[in-house]
Amino acid sequence: MTDATTLATRPVASTGLVDGPRGGKPKRAISPRNVFIYGTLLLVSIYYLLPLYVMIVTSLKGMPEIRLGNIFAPPVEITFEPWVKAWATACTGLNCEGLSRGFWNSVRITIPSVVLSIAIASVNGYALANWRFKGADVFFTILIFGAFIPYQVMLYPIVILLRELGIYGTLWGLSLVHTIFGMPILTLLFRNYFTTVPEELFKAARVDGAGFWGIYFKIMLPMSLPIFVVAIIIQITGIWNDFLFGVVYTKPDVYPMTVQLNNIVNSVQGVKEYNVNMAATIITGLVPLFIYFVSGKLFVRGIAAGAVKG
């Protein structure tokens, strides 16, 4: 309570220093920088949200109102009839069950493909990362190479393959195709994740007497829930949105939702029902949209992980 305090409380002026700014530097709310950043963000969001707005608005209008041509105007009279029609009664070719059948087809395609592809790919990745078996690098290179082959090249050979297996045109055939095509990217995803798990953990488990499956189920699996969520997101959105494989490898009874949507929108007979088309499109997009919103942060990680694909 002597020199130290007097030193600390000595007025600034007496040391010959000019009193001036003190504490944190103040920040201005409206600076050119902020205006530029938020202005750009606003413009881009409008650019992307406007089509969605038009879709929603149009899907809630009746046909007479649409014919007026004011596509940006909100509906005068809100009607949910186009939504009902798109789901239940819209016609594609001969059948008039709407999108509902496609929806259930897609569900029945997506669930086995997602489960199967992730189950296999995670074991692949685990084996590649932790059990460096002979030829592991060659195997991995071949697998990754698969990710770069254009799908078109393989379309027809796979048709023959599925035909020989007797599952061409079935939901199982399409699920198998999705499982196979998901393999390179998912294996890469899991392998990269498992290589970040400390090797010593794996060694400790081996000393503790756990085998290949013991380590996978008891050590690795409980540690890697985030990457499983990422994989599930990638697979669900990817498989749900797939159109090419759906149209090539299935028959009209088992068309997935995307193919059926196309058939509804592109049917050339009669009047173009824009409101039904808009509603059908939104319904089809709801599943991925729901996944995006629910998963949020994890989805961004999924994209970042997918970016490795190049």
Binding site: E200, L201, K203, A204, V207, G209, A210, G214, K218
Partner: protein, 360 residues
């Protein structure tokens, strides 16, 4: 009775020979430290003993059994890792029980073993916690416990204290030593920290490039290093090395620049001596001031830098044109620029052949 025997152990990664025909016998209850710089193969050797790496050639025996092809879990070893390697999703109890469950041990036996290990390591209050809720020292204790519950003959430690701060490291070091006194298991301990090696080991194996340079008691390794590498590696600050010539056959001298050090008291291992040699003396074997004049050899040096380190002070000086370090009491009033008399007993020195770098 040997506990661990290694015969002609060779490990190659492709064309790279990591371990070169190693032979070690470790006695039952012995504490062996594998010491060396990073990349010398000490951790690799430990992994080979544990069975985590497939060896290219040779044999490994543990407790009299040839375990060369045996799975890690069946070798009768427990291993403690540098990064603790605790299973993050399991509680401490789950971590301890994991190995026992894999061995399909009855529940009551698992419980009693965990209770005993927890008591020995004083981790009883932590049993229900997750590893993330533990401090570094506690984690390492649990990691040791995981080896302990398996009731193995041989403990393998892979740099277990390197991730801890200095204070905790010193505490756990003593605890490991205590544990060894209490359990009397064979322990093989890998470290790059020579203090850990010197304090813990019954014997130290100093490794370099996959070859054991010297395998001996800490005392021998410190005082009679077999070659220049071991001499330079052990001791901090390191030994002073001076290159020069040996003259005369009987009571010879070591000459460099204009200085002559009498070697009459030096215990040469063999009679014939090369001309060119390296003279090594540890900084702590040098005395200064009035005590220096009583030593068999004394001379004046110019002080360049003084490094006070609390308990003692390291002095960097120039001895006839060569850099020369010596250690004095922490209270010493020496300062840079001063000239002072230093001296030492050549019997405490180590002399190496300049060409083969082996001890003379």
């Amino acid at each position: 009775m040997t506990s661990v025997s290694i015969r002609d152990l060779t490990l190659k990664f492709g064309s790279l020979e990591v371990l070169k025909s190693l032979n070690i016998d470790i006695d039952e209850g012995e504490f062996l430290v594998l010491l060396g710089p990073s990349g010398c193969g000490k951790s690799t050797l430990l992994n080979c003993i544990a069975g985590l790496l497939d060896i290219s050639d040779g044999q490994i025996f543990i407790g009299g059994n040839n375990v060369t092809w045996t799975e890690p879990s069946e070798r009768g070893i427990g291993m403690v890792f540098q990064s603790y390697a605790l299973y993050p999703q399991m509680s401490v109890e789950g971590n301890l029980a994991f190995g026992l469950k894999n061995a399909r041990m009855p529940k009551h036996e698992i419980a009693s073993r965990i209770a005993r290990a927890a008591e020995v390591l004083q981790i009883e209050p932590l049993l229900q916690r997750k590893p993330a809720q533990l401090s570094g020292g506690q984690r390492q204790r649990v990691a040791i416990g995981r080896a302990l519950v398996r009731d193995v003959d041989v403990f393998l430690f892979d740099e277990p204290l390197s991730n801890l701060d200095a204070k905790l490291r010193a505490e756990l070091r003593v605890e490991i030593k205590r544990l060894h006194h209490r359990l009397k298991n064979t322990m093989v301990y890998v470290t790059h920290d020579q203090i850990e090696a010197l304090t813990l080991a019954d014997r130290i194996a100093i490794m370099r490039n996959g070859i054991i340079q010297q395998l001996d008691t800490p005392h021998e390794i410190y005082n009679r290093p077999v070659n220049l590498y071991v001499a330079g590696f052990m001791g901090s600050p390191g030994m002073n090395f001076i290159e020069g010539e040996i003259s005369g056959a009987g009571d010879s001298d070591f000459n460099f620049a204009s200085t002559q050090i009498p070697l009459a008291r030096y215990p040469f291992a063999q009679a014939d001596r090369p001309n060119h040699a390296i003279f090594g003396i540890r900084p702590e074997h040098v005395s200064c001031g009035t005590a220096a004049s009583d030593e068999p050899f004394s001379t004046d040096v110019e002080i360049e830098v003084v490094e006070p380190m609390g308990a003692d002070t390291l002095v960097w000086a120039v001895l006839d044109g060569k850099e020369f370090r010596f250690r004095v009491d922490g209270q010493s009033p020496l300062h840079a620029g001063q000239s002072i008399r230093i001296g030492f007993d050549p019997a405490k020195a180590s002399i190496f052949d300049a060409r083969s770098e082996l001890r003379l």
